[in-house]
């Protein structure tokens, strides 16, 4: 298509040279005037062929305008289409053919220009035709695809499962789809008469209005919320609403497109699940989760509301287990339902939450308590309401409850502390006899906590050697000579200092630690006694060591004593084991097996605290016992300087008389004054111990 081949009519050398000359000038003149798809050499060749035809036209006898016109049209066909090209071509012809007849030159120029103009006009018209056809075709195609896409859109809009609407930014609904009509129960005509205000719902999320404003003012393009609508028949439809703005060409909001997914079922299910998560299925009361959530909320707000107080009543139905076990779980459940109903009815004030903690435990949370009285009043009301007999399954059941009441400032407490206090207090109410309330006592609680801590830390203390043994002299009343010592265990506690046996022996008996502790004490004491035995021979003091009931019941006691005596080398008769009456007697009142076995090993046996138990002299005569220790309470009766209690004095005299009759020696404990010592001596008592002589101390402090 690039270069048409001009066809010269004839060729001869001079004419060729002339044509080349003309072409060279011509090519220089029109270079760059039009865009042609040829390089310089190609243009040269192209113009040379045309030049031949022009020279032929110049020299021919008769002028053929058609051939020259074709030269003009050939230029256009090769895309020498710029008017400048023609202008310069005409000028070049005039210049190059200056010597030729003017008329022929003018004919050539005219024909060439005519051919050029004709071709250019045809070309322009063709191209205009082409581009217009292309434009029409493109437009038709665009419209067709727009129509298709609109039809597609319309189908999506009309047939969508989700509701859709288009509104103006003024709030006028202009188009809705069937799904939205179905969802809200209105016809599309009805909906088109509505505006945004008609869709405002009191339960709209608070942020909705702000987001809506922002959307309509162009501040945001889209938002998504869960929003309720009112169905025409009055019921509530919850939707997942996505609202988007469509802007005009200037970027101003023009349309509001909203899409609504009906999430009513999901929403109601969520509500139900939330209710289930926070309520007890049996009683429908709030459950422990809800109770703890609410309590946590209160505690979280404690800082803002300085001075606000909170009350907790922890209620437990007395003897519920028995009811459950004897009358069955159905009855138990119905009873709990009744209790729950009554509690909910009687305690329904603002800021009072009744919850079921589980089992037969209920709890009342009292927000903004004014003081203990407030909470106690609520607890008493709860007790009263529970006390009324319950009719269940043909049974009339009288029940009661115990309540632990805690009332304290919100600030400085925690859920854990509060509930622990409530639990402890409930335990007190139970321990005090049930069917009552107990009020939390921080000091009592602290004591119990301390006691618990002591008890719990005792095994480790034994391992860490925090215990040590002190000795208190046993003095012969006649000449005040120390003839023995009582070993007394002490605990050097890292936090509480040195503790006496009263502070921990009871606990050690409860936990059973008394067995290893007692064994250790016995070993320490025997070691010391053996040392004294080595130093003082026959004058060495008797070592008196306490054995607890629990130790006596332990099967290893006899083996332990035997082993310790062997290990320490202590002569068995230098050891005295102090046992209480309950340790000596079995549960049936007969002497324990261990007693005889122990006595057989050789140590003396003393009955400790004599006079506080049954003091059965009948058995005493058959027991392998050597000595009685009078309980300190009797000895205290001898103390007042204005005169001893005559009854105590007579009892002591009688006991000493009987003991001596049974060939038992008597030791008085707790002697604190000279008067007591004198009276005891007068009554025939053999030995004594107490502050009057010496308090307990390390072995080195014992004067022998």
């Amino acid at each position: 298509m690039t270069a048409l081949s001009p066809t010269p009519t004839s060729w001869d050398r001079p004419r060729d040279r002339a044509a080349e000359r003309l072409a060279r000038s011509w090519s220089l003149a029109i270079a760059g005037t039009s865009y042609v798809s040829m390089n310089g050499l190609e243009v040269q060749d192209f113009l040379t062929a045309l030049s031949s035809r022009l020279i032929h036209a110049l020299t021919a006898e008769t002028f053929d305008p058609d051939d020259v016109r074709e030269v003009g049209s050939t230029l256009v066909a090769t895309h020498f289409t710029e008017p400048t090209t023609l202008e310069r071509t005409v000028a070049v012809i005039a210049e190059q053919f200056a010597k030729a007849p003017t008329r022929r030159v003018a004919e050539i120029q005219g024909a060439l220009a005519a051919g050029y103009a004709q071709a250019l006009r045809d070309r322009v018209l063709d191209e205009q035709e082409e581009i217009r056809t292309a434009a029409l075709w493109a437009r038709a195609r665009a419209e067709e695809s727009r129509r298709v896409s609109e039809a597609r859109f319309r189908a999506i809009f009309a047939g969508a499962a989700i509701g859709m609407s288009v509104s103006t930014v003024d709030g006028q609904v202009i188009e809705v789809n069937q799904a939205l009509c179905d969802m809200l129960g209105y016809s599309s005509d009805e909906l088109r008469l509505m505006t945004f205000e008609d869709f405002v719902h009191p339960q709209d999320p608070p942020v909705a209005a702000g987001m809506f404003e922002e959307l309509l003012s162009g501040g945001r393009d889209q938002f998504r919320i869960e929003k309720p609508y009112l169905h025409k028949d009055g019921h509530q439809v919850w939707t997942d609403l996505v609202a988007s703005i469509i802007r005009d060409e200037d970027g101003e909001p023009k349309w509001l497109v909203a899409m609504f997914e009906d999430i009513t079922e999901r929403y109601l299910l969520q509500l139900r699940l939330r209710h289930q998560a926070l309520h007890d299925p049996l009683t429908q009361l709030p459950n422990r989760t809800m109770f703890f959530d609410r309590l946590a909320e209160l505690l979280a707000g404690a800082e803002e509301e300085a001075g606000s107080r909170v009350g907790v009543c922890y209620l437990d139905v007395d003897g519920f287990k028995v009811i459950n076990d004897t009358l069955g779980h159905d009855v138990g459940d119905q009873l709990l339902q009744t209790v729950a109903r009554r509690l909910a009815r009687s305690i329904s004030g603002d800021g009072q939450l009744v919850a079921r903690m589980g089992g037969d435990e209920f709890v009342v949370l009292i927000e903004r308590s004014e003081g203990t009285d407030d909470v106690v009043a609520v607890a008493e009301r709860a007790l009263d309401t529970v006390r009324a007999p319950v009719h269940v399954g043909g049974h009339e059941i009288s029940i009661s409850a115990s309540i632990g009441v805690v009332e304290q400032p919100l600030r400085g407490t925690s859920t854990g502390e509060l509930m622990k206090a409530a639990d402890t207090t409930l335990y007190w109410a139970k321990a005090d006899g049930r069917n009552r309330l107990a009020l939390f006592d921080a000091e009592r609680h602290a004591r119990e906590v301390t006691r618990y801590e002591l008890s719990a830390s005792m095994p480790a203390a034994l391992e860490r050697r925090e215990f040590f043994v002190e000795y208190q002299p046993l003095v012969r009343l006649g000449d005040a000579v120390t003839i023995g010592v009582e070993a007394l265990v002490r605990w050097r506690h890292p936090r509480f200092g040195v503790l006496g046996p009263d502070a921990f022996i009871g606990m050690a008996e409860e936990t059973g630690l008394i067995v290893p502790l007692g064994r250790w004490v016995l070993h320490e004491a025997c070691k010391q006694a053996a040392r004294w035995q080595a130093e003082h021979g026959a004058k060495a003091p008797l070592m008196s060591v306490n054995l607890a009931v629990r130790q006596m019941r332990d099967r290893t006691i006899v083996r332990d004593v035997k082993a310790i005596l062997e290990q320490t080398g202590l002569a068995p008769d230098r050891l005295q084991l102090e046992l209480t009456e309950s340790a000596v007697m079995g549960s049936g009142g007969e002497p324990t097996e261990a007693l005889n076995a122990l006595a057989a090993l050789g140590p003396r046996i003393a009955i400790d605290d004599f006079g506080t138990g049954y003091s059965n002299f009948a058995y005493l005569r058959h027991l392998p016992v050597h000595s009685l220790k009078l309980a300190g309470s009797f000895v205290a009766g001898l103390r007042p300087p204005e005169g001893a209690d005559p009854v105590d004095q007579k009892i002591i005299a009688a006991v000493i008389g009987l003991a001596h009759a049974l060939n038992l020696s008597v030791t008085a404990e707790g002697v604190e004054t000279a008067e007591q010592a004198d009276r005891l001596l007068a009554l025939g008592c053999d030995t004594a111990q107490g502050w009057y002589y010496a308090s307990s101390g390390p072995a080195s402090a014992i004067k022998l």
């Binding site: 270079a31 865009y35 243009v43 292309a134 493109a138």
Partner: protein, 264 residues
């Protein structure tokens, strides 16, 4: 927001179209009043645009002819516009040429012209998305990706702003070709500050639907990434391997550069 691919572009003949304005600069009549008015406005402040357009077209001819001479037979003319004189398929008889443009009128016209021309195809697509262009059935059906392809980006990347990552577009095409494939690139711009007239022309384009981004030859070289730029490098469009016998440089101070680069 991007127009979804199934929504057609508007055919608004009252808006000048890059393709038809270019045709007018080349002396064509495939244009409408709005195109001519816009083109005349530009020519008034910067008459050099017309010769620039012609030298760009001449560069394309020289580059394609050179590549065809080296045996490359597959070409994608990206932003091909209105087919006019010296179309690529006319330069490489027997070759395969895909014309790509997003102007619906240019595409319609190309389809009319090329309907019966074997070895050619027309794709309506946006050249800024190489993957989409290359995935079209026309491209996939006509071209053999195991053989080198020449990607022609003649006078189009100056309509792609930096934020649309023109270098990535070039790389996207180059990546699709086997070694021996080429990028043919010409671009408006120059290495000196703009004259007031050029600023005015640029401003006119800025207000048009297709703003013009002028880039220096250094920046144009950057667009070619790590491709091997053939001799003589990135040079003024009319200086790229000029034809023997072309005795005059185009009129005026044509502003634009060009290069051909090879994927090794």
């Amino acid at each position: 927001m991007e127009r979804p691919s199934w929504a057609p572009a508007d055919v608004d003949l009252d808006q000048p179209s890059v393709a038809r304005v270019y045709d007018y600069y080349l002396g064509g009549s495939h244009n409408f009043a709005a195109d001519r008015a816009f083109a005349e406005q530009i020519l008034k402040v910067m008459p050099a645009v017309a010769p620039l357009t012609r030298s760009n077209r001449a560069f394309l001819r020289r580059a394609v002819t050179m590549l065809a001479g080296q045996g490359i037979q597959q070409f994608i003319d990206l932003g091909s516009g209105i087919p006019t004189v010296g179309n690529v398929h006319e330069l490489v008889p027997g070759g395969k040429v895909v014309y790509v443009d997003h102007d619906p009128v240019a595409v319609a016209h190309s389809r009319a012209i090329l309907a019966d021309v074997p070895g050619t195809a027309v794709v309506a697509a946006d050249l800024r998305a190489p993957a989409d262009v290359l995935a079209t059935p026309q491209v996939q059906g006509l071209l053999d990706f195991t053989q080198p392809i020449a990607f022609l980006l003649a006078a189009v990347l100056h309509f792609v702003p930096d934020e649309e990552r023109p270098a990535d577009i070039v790389a996207g095409y180059a990546a699709a070709g086997v070694p021996g494939s080429h990028i043919v690139l010409s671009h408006a711009g120059l290495d000196r500050p703009l004259t007031p007239a050029e600023e005015a022309a640029k401003e006119m384009y800025r207000k048009s639907p297709t703003p013009l981004i002028l880039r220096s030859s250094q920046e144009v070289a950057t667009l070619l990434g790590d491709l091997t730029i053939l001799e003589p490098g990135v040079v003024a469009t009319y200086d790229w391997r000029p034809d023997p016998g072309t005795e005059t440089a185009p009129d005026g101070d044509a502003i634009g550069c060009a290069a051909v680069a090879r994927k090794d």
